[in-house]
Structures are given as C-alpha cells and as structure tokens.
Amino acid sequence: MRQRGWTSWRILRALSLFIGYGFVLGPVLPVVYNAFNASPIFPAPFEGLTLEWFRSVVTSEQYMSGAIVSIEVGIGATALALVIGVCAAFAVVRGPAWIRGGAATSLLMGPIVIPQIVIGLAILEAASQLSFRLGLAGLIIAHAVFVSPFIIRVVAGALEVQGSNLESAAMVLGSRRTAVLFTLTLPMLRPAIVASAVFAFTLSFVNVPLSLFLSPSNLRPLPIVIYQEMINTRTPVLAAVSILLAFVLLLATGLAEKVFRVRILQ
C-alpha cells in the first residue's frame, strides 16, 4: 500500500485495542494476584506466595459438583434455547408483517429486561400452584427462555444479512425445502448459531438471579456456590476458582478447536 494514513490507523488501532483490552482484563489483575496471595482476606496486601486457595477449590466438593451442575444446565439450556431462538429468528426476519414489526420483536426481547430474581420466584410459585415439582428441568427451561433472546438477535441479524437469494436459487433449481434448509440455510448460519450458542451457554453458566430460587436444594450451580461464598466469606478462594474456571475453559476451547477442527469463536 503506497497510501498515506496507515500510520495514523496503526496508532489508532493500537490505542483502541489497548484501552479495550485494558478495560476488560484490568480487573483480572487483582483477582490473579490475590489468588496467589497468602492472606486469607480479599483483597489484601501481599503476604507471601501460596497455592493453598487452588488446593481448596480442587478438593472442595461443592465447587466441583457445582461446576458439573452448571455444565449440565448450560448444555441443556443452550440446546433448548437454540431450538426456540433459531425458529423465532426465521419468523422475525421472514414471517408475516405483524411479526416483523417492532412490537413482536421487542416482546421477544422481553425476558432480558425482566428482573430475573423476581421471575425465578414467580416461576417457582406458578409451578407449585400446578403441583409441579421443579427439578433441574425447571432450571434448564428457565435458563433457556432467558438466554434465547440473545440467540434470536444474533441469528436474526445473520439471517438478514444472508438474505434468501441462494435459497431461491436452490429452489428454482429444484431442491426441496427441507433439503435447502438443512444443506444450505442452516450451514450458512452456522457461524452465527455457534457464536450465539457460546453466548447462550456463557449466560446460563454465569447466571445467578434465576438459579438463586430455581436450583434444587442439593444441586447448586457453581455461580450460586460462588455467590453465597461471596456474601458469607469474601476470600481468595473465590479468586482461585475464577482463575481455574477461565483456565479450564480456555483449555477446553483450544482442545475442541483442535480436535473437532472448528473455529468456535469465529
């Protein structure tokens, strides 16, 4: 490129990435630092290096079982939310005018703005009135409903950009609708679906307010365990658990990308 102006672009890019990543990763620093700090108080000045907090997490039954519950709920909720969300995205983008209009679209965003802490209680109450005992399934359904708006948004956005010319072409050439859907439309939507699924799983995985009232007594998801610890004892164990979590997820994503030859985040 002979063009002038690349220097200012490079400076701008470096600056924006520095500020953006600085903001997102800045608060990680005290967490990392306190996770290795020997002081049993969070946050505290440096008192010495320790791995004690990590040992505590790994040997803690409640963190480990919490992680398993969270993964189960996250996978279940993501699967269900994908069904709800992808179907709805088609209706929102291509359905009759009354759906495509603003009202229905904003109603689909409704769950996001509803205070989950109250809706969790209300769901529990509604289920009890029907003499229906909510187990993990109740938690999964609630999570699915509350993360599906994000899937609708992302998939609808992609569907809009994608248009329907290729589908029309395929159908003109004689393909059946189901074949078009499964071999053309959905594969083309794959990046958006995968991205929104990661999104949905994440949202479910970190949810506190819904799980607060809907998690069964003996199956506490990890965020609830952490939340209660945060209220009861603010300790470096929480810092250690978060670092382990991020590290394990990083490893899992990397491995999955290698093994399944997919680019999960792109």
Binding site: S39, P40, P43, L124, E125, S217, N218, Q228
Partner: protein, 413 residues
C-alpha cells in the same frame, strides 16, 4: 468451604496449646465412633435428653427467671407434661433410603451441622441429609413460593423469618414427644411453639483492640470514630433490633424509632457489611475501628489477622436467635423431629458450638476446650443481651427499611 479447613489450621496455630494440652480423649471429635456412641445413647435411653447430667433445679430456675424476664411467656414448651411424656421411651425413626432436606445458611452454620449433627443423625436413623443454603431472605422467599410443595423438611432461619413462615401457615408446632432433648433446652431458646433456637450469638460492638473497650451504643457517635466506622447493611437481620435499642437510648421507643433514624443519619460509615468478610480488608488497613457485628465471627477474623474484640454495650447487646422449625406437610416430619433432637443433645451441642462458635442452647452443654474462653456460655451472657419481640419487628421491618433507605442511606453517601 475448604477455607475453613485452612482457617482451622491457622486457628490451630493460634490456639494450638489449648488443643494439644486439653487432654481431650478424641483428636477428631466428630469421628464415626463418636457419632455411633451418641446415636446409641439417643436410641437406648428413655430419658436420652438429659444425657450425662440432669439439670439442677437451681440452674433451671435461674434460667427460667432470666428467660422469662426478657421474653415473656415463651416457656410453653417446658412445663409439667414434658416430664410425663419423657417417661415414654424414645424411638428413633427409620430413615433408611430417605433423604432429609435442611434449609440453612451456607458457610459456617452449614459446616457446623455437617461436621457434628449430620454424622450422629445418619448413624441414628440411616437417613441421608442434604442442605439447601442461601441467605435467610432467599430461603424464606423460596419456602413461601413453594406452597404445599416445599422442598425442605427442616427450616433453619432467623426468628423473624420463622415467625413469618408460620404466619403464612408453612410450619408445624414442634412435637416434644419426638424431641425429648427439648427438656435440656434453655427457656430463652424456646422462642415459639414452632421454632426453637439451637444457640445464642450476640450482636454488639466490635472494635479494634488498639482502642479502649466501648461501653455504650452511643460510642458509635464519638468524634474520633468519624470516618472509621463500619455499619451493618440496613437489610441486616439485626438492624431493626439495633434501631429499637438506639431509639430507646435517644428518647424514642419501639413504636417511635424516629429519634434513632435521625441519629443514624449523622453517622458516615466507611462500609456497610452483612458479614465480617466485607469489612475485613478495611479493618486490616486500619480504615475501620468500630463496627456493630456478631461476637461469633471474631475467631475467624483473628485467624485472618484482624485483632478485633467484642464489647457488650451497657444498654445490652442484641441476642441473635438461630431458629429451627419443621415445615408443614413434610413427608419426613419424623426425621425432622429426630434432626432437632440430635441437634439439641447436650454433647452434640458442645461439639456443634465448638464449630459454630455460638453459645449452646442446651443448659447441659459445655464449652468445648477448643474454644474455651473465646465463646461464653449462654447463661453467662444472658444478662448482657436483650431479646426482642420478633413478631412485632417482622411486621415492622418493611416499613422501617423504607424509612432507613430514604432518611438514612441518602445521608450515608
């Protein structure tokens, strides 16, 4: 929760001598043998409740006198018929293949139950125990929302929450025939026919050991503590009790808390805390010298390097009740009663309170050597704490919170 192991380790360093030299017969107090021993005693003895030593008449009278003076008329459970009933042999329910769900605060309380009560209960009944944890408010709301389909059998919460739960018809009265150990429970602990306290903790003035002991709640307003003060959040369980106490000090009463509200607005706390962990870092940095809090956390705080002491104000500290109740419609009501019975056993109480660090509610329970001198016997502090009309406070809490929010928190910016 493993943190507590860590803290235990540290605690061991702090109080190592007392543990080593106490000559206690068991290193691991809550071993399977210990649980088996207690369970066998509970199973066999018709008067299991009285355990090793019966309540002396003098003790009982003294306690009744004290208890009655602070909570009038709460003694409906300890009258004559109790003795007649206790003569019937106690039979532990068979809980094989069943699960008892206990709703309790997570953290130290849950751990104390897990370490002491659960092993005995399991040995005694064969039933499994799971815990539902969360803050008092969360668990109360959950119970309220669940209607007839409550997921918990034993509901452990603050007296206010238990009172409200009963008001909504969610609880049953405790059947003393199924809880023979109730006979050993002090009168102050028998808050309601449906709610019995398992131990006493005091809420008073916690201060840095760098400063002289505090004498009065009024000390919170001393100029030298300005900007060095922590306060409980206004949603704190003990805030309304503190409000009443302050109202009385400053010329109001339980039905007129305005003077206390005006006075509180003058303070400017550094932190609002619901648990000592929330003021711990400020205390360590010397930014907080005084904070109203519980006495039972101070050992943990000390282990974490925060040297704070507890003072009973002359206007009395606040008795924090920790109440056990049984949920109506529970299919495990028999196990629930057995769980209460185990918790109220004098020896279990001794062990339990060593973990939990409150004062036992059973008059025959002792202070474990592990915490000797650090945790008082309930009878030693009964004249220094005050019990409140929990029903009255429970119905007033919503209104008071609203007023504190708008009149005090806006000033505490």
């Amino acid at each position: 929760m493993d943190l507590f192991k860590k803290l235990d380790f540290k605690r061991g360093q702090v109080m190592g001598n007392s543990i080593k030299n106490s000559g206690n017969r068991r290193e691991d107090e809550c071993s399977a043998e210990w649980a088996e021993e207690i369970a066998a005693r509970l199973r066999a003895a018709p008067l299991a409740a009285l355990g090793s030593k019966p309540v002396s008449r003098r003790d009982a009278l003294g306690l009744i006198g004290l208890g009655a003076s602070v909570i009038g008329g709460a003694s409906m459970l300890t009258s004559g018929p109790a003795l007649a009933q206790a003569a019937k042999p106690y039979k532990a329910p068979d809980g094989k293949g069943r699960t008892l769900t206990v709703s309790v605060w997570g953290g130290p309380t849950e751990q104390a139950f897990v370490k002491t009560v659960v092993p005995v209960f399991r040995t005694l009944t064969g039933a499994n125990v799971v815990f539902e944890t969360g803050s008092g408010g969360e668990r109360f709301n959950k119970l309220m929302a669940q209607g007839a389909l409550a997921s918990v059998d034993v509901f452990i919460n603050s007296g206010e929450n238990v009172f409200q739960a009963n008001r909504l018809g969610k609880l049953v009265n405790v059947d003393k025939a199924l809880v023979p150990n109730l006979d050993g429970i002090a009168d102050w602990a028998k808050l309601f026919p449906y709610g019995i306290s398992y131990g006493l903790i005091a809420f008073g003035l916690v201060r840095s050991t760098q400063i002289a002991p505090l004498k009065s709640w009024k000390d919170l307003w001393r100029p030298e503590f300005k900007g060095k003060l922590g306060m409980p959040g206004i949603g704190h369980t003990q805030f309304p009790m503190m409000l009443i106490t302050l109202a009385e000090i400053y010329g109001g009463s339980a039905s007129d808390v305005e003077p206390a509200i005006k006075k509180l607005a003058e303070l400017d706390p550094v932190v609002l805390a619901f648990f000592w962990g929330q003021w711990a870092d400020s205390a360590k940095a010397g930014k907080v010298l005084v904070v109203p809090d519980f006495n039972y956390n101070l050992l943990d705080a000390k282990a974490a390097g925060i040297d704070f002491a507890f003072d009973f104000p002359e206007e009395k500290a606040i008795a924090a009740d920790n109440t056990m109740s049984i949920v109506k419609g529970s299919p495990n009501a028999d196990l629930a009663h057995a769980f209460l019975n185990v918790t109220f056993d004098s020896e279990v109480q001794t062990q339990f309170c060593a973990e939990w660090r409150g004062s036992p509610a059973n008059v025959n329970a002792k202070i474990h050597p592990k915490i000797e001198g650090q945790v008082p016997l309930a009878s030693d502090i009964l004249n220094k704490v005050r019990f409140f009309d929990l029903g009255f406070i429970a119905t007033k809490r919503a209104e008071w919170t609203e007023r504190l929010n708008s009149q005090v928190l806006t000033k505490w910016k």
